[in-house]
Amino acid sequence: MILDGKTPTGPIEKTWDKHRFDMKLVNPANKRKFKILMVGTGLAGGAGAASLGELGYNVEAFCYQDSARRAHSIAAQGGINAAKNYPNDGDSIYRLFYDTIKGGDFRAREADVWRLAQVSNNIIDQCVAQGVPFARDYAGYLDNRSFGGAQVSRTFYARGQTGQQLLLGAYSALTRQVKAGTVKLHPRTEMVDLVVVDGVAKGITVRNLITGQLESHWGDAVVLATGGYVNVFYLSTNAMGCSVTAAWKAAKKGAFFANPCYTQIHPTCIPQHGDKQSKLTLMSESLRNDGRCWVPKKKADCDKAPADIPEEDRDYYLERKYPSFGNLAPRDIASRAAKEQCDDERGVGPGKRGVYLDYQTSIDRVGEDTIRERYGNLFEMYEKITAEDAYKRPMRIYPAPHYSMGGLWVDYNCMSNVPGLFVLGEANFSVHGANRLGASALMQGLADGYFVIPNTIANYLAGITPGTVKEDHAEFKKSIEEVDASVNKMLNINGKKTVSELHRELGSVMWEDVGMARSDASLKNALKRIPEIRDEFWNNCNVTGEAGELNQQLENAGRLADFLEFAEVFAKDALHREESCGGHFRTEHQTDDGEAMRDDENFAYVGAWEFKGVGKEPELHKEPLKFENVKLAVRSYK
């Protein structure tokens, strides 16, 4: 099937304004009759639930954490982009749009990205109004910094905790609506199924994580803002509870999963210390503003103390390979370059999977105090984890799975191919293409939540009758029975391996074979291994405890079961995409000097997969991408 993104036509600058006018509205008096279910309360979900509640809709919001304030958006450190052009350095909505399309390696929809760039400015204003304490100068004006390879300073930040502050802003707006009674919050509640009635999303089945009870919730629309899926790699920078479950349940009910192979591996993470590690810790990309990446030129030097390696024996590989961007090369490029050095056996630290990020040059230039002021909290965090002082000795960093550009397929209105099912933020595939630029995730989450969904959902709701399907519908009962059966099946495997052992096994296959660089052979190996691990899970896993109680093993088992199905589609997508673009690097498709080779002729499309059942071939649907405003070009950062 050729998918239609339903993007508005005409001059790109006018698309969003025109579309907003063209869309249908819901009468203010009727809004409260519509019930909207919001799953996830991060930036997109929290902002969306708050805004929809304020508009007068009857909103119910769900999150697995004990508070809406704890969603993993909170962990974003660096900042949020906006085209304010406060520093007068040549930024504009058009430039932000252009950079995002190019940064995404020409695999995103132009109109969606334009809209993102356009509303980016409103986001900053909104957050300021909520009391988000952005960094400011002594006169009181908002401060900006350059971030993640951008050549303009368009990133707004709140120390090293921008995500936290933005999320707390959205959370405060949500809290206000909860108090006002327009939003009902269901914390410690996990969505375990999507209920589809006659092809239309009409509700969800959730598990109360405290009592273990399964509950049905009807809604006139279901909005998923459930984040990304990189915990499929087991070790990632995501929170432990992040999973593909909500999105995957929707996929199993017919929603298409787009571009799952586009995953971002973040270059500046603390390297793995051992095999007992449970997660990887990211340090803000802003570190690369003043740090220089290097590895020893000679393999023999790798075990030496970095101070003992003379300048001429150091390979500042990013500066060497990308003279104009140097250490600020985009994430995918910086990550892959680090991997190359380690594959060349010139990595440092335990297991030789690490490169140095050295501050000596900057400390000599601006002084240790300035560096402390800029990155003090990051250096502190690094020391806590590694017990090394990065002022004295270069940091060791290594890439780690961080963000998923892929996600459920949505049209311009953020609605999936299942009518009534909307998807926001990281959970959808829409704006980042094959690679996300730094400080753009926060922007997208809040754009979708504050400014997109409140408009586009009305267009859908205006065309339906509210409350036609309630919890007494047979589909709800059926869904509960199915989930119940699956839960009981898991609890009765009584095997030998634990859930986390099997998750580690899956993660190791995904990281080795479907990680930063993928080949035909590695992907085929993964496609052989994933079903094996899945079989082992269903035959030899030990899921302890009962269904009707707080049972964290059962929660993890359910999430792993979904990852085990999803991983196969992920690998298939990577195998089918015979090109290298952004976060998807196929070793067969590279230039002589190791750069990614895109194939615009054959792959300038969104690959959206329809799941047909375990063990069955998923069906690929394509949405061709047209570039009318940005010329397709080789993405070069040399």
């Binding site: 909104q126 909520q130 400011r136 002594y138 004006y141 120390r159 707390l168 809290t175 590690q277």
Partner: protein, 245 residues
């Protein structure tokens, strides 16, 4: 290294609960505290026992989910550190560790080390926001906020809402948590308008949720993994006085 753990086990809110002893063997000093607990849980599962339930999520010290009192200190007592960022190199071979949940009437225990922190939510709902609408707000630079003010607000805004302040307080007061939000919004021009109502409503909510009163023990400041200062409680008191004027 090898450790002995005394962990609070409690099946549910009605259960009495007690400390149970487990060995933690072959602990690496590079592991985080929670990774050590993960390993203990793997062993418990393999020996047919119920693993220890504990709250955790981001494991990078920002989500505020983790909540354990280790040897009488919330989050283990390392300065500006949550349990998930506490590493085993802080401990020694042969150590005995007592691991307990947050204890306060306002935080009933769900299971083992997991407590119900809804009470903190209720405090926030009482006024921890500015009543701005989505859209239709002024430009971000329309109201100037000089750096010292922005920094002050940010110092307060760093609160992760974990509840260590309550857990450490001899009175189980949530005053540090409440004061951080009151102070942040009181100094910003966007929050000033509602400051009077906010301070009253949030402190009343704190009281009604079953938290105790602040009697200036300052335990909270020491226990806070984000180093939130009790100067914000002083600020809250000032705000309260202003609200009475």
């Amino acid at each position: 290294m090898n450790l002995t753990l005394h962990v609070w086990r409690q099946k549910g809110p009605q259960d009495k609960g007690k400390l149970e002893t487990y060995p933690a063997k072959g602990v690496s000093e590079d592991q985080s505290f929670l990774e050590m607990l993960d390993d203990v849980n793997e062993e418990l599962i393999k020996s047919g026992k119920d693993p220890i339930a504990f709250d955790h999520d981001c494991r990078e010290g920002i989500c505020g989910m983790c909540s354990q009192v280790i040897n009488g200190k919330p989050h283990g007592g390392q300065e500006r550190t949550t349990v998930c960022q506490l590493h085993m190199r802080e401990f020694n071979d042969g150590d005995e560790l007592f691991i307990e949940p947050w204890r306060a009437r306002a935080f009933p225990i769900h299971k083992d080390l997991i407590v119900d922190r809804t009470a903190l939510e209720m405090v926030m709902q009482a006024g921890g926001y500015t009543s701005c609408h989505t859209g239709g707000v002024a430009d971000g630079n329309a109201l100037l906020i000089p750096k010292p003010v922005a920094d002050y607000a940010m110092d307060a805004a760093e609160c992760i809402g974990c509840g260590a302040c309550v857990a450490s307080c001899p009175n189980s007061s949530a005053m540090l948590y409440t004061s951080a939000k009151v102070s942040q919004l009181a100094v910003l021009p966007q929050g000033k308008g509602e400051a009077k109502a906010r301070v009253k409503e949030m402190t009343d909510a704190m009281q009604n949720e079953g938290f105790g009163n602040c009697t200036n023990h300052y335990e909270c400041q020491e226990a806070c993994p984000k180093g939130i200062s009790v100067k914000f409680i002083a600020k809250l008191n000032r705000e309260y006085m202003k609200s009475m004027a």
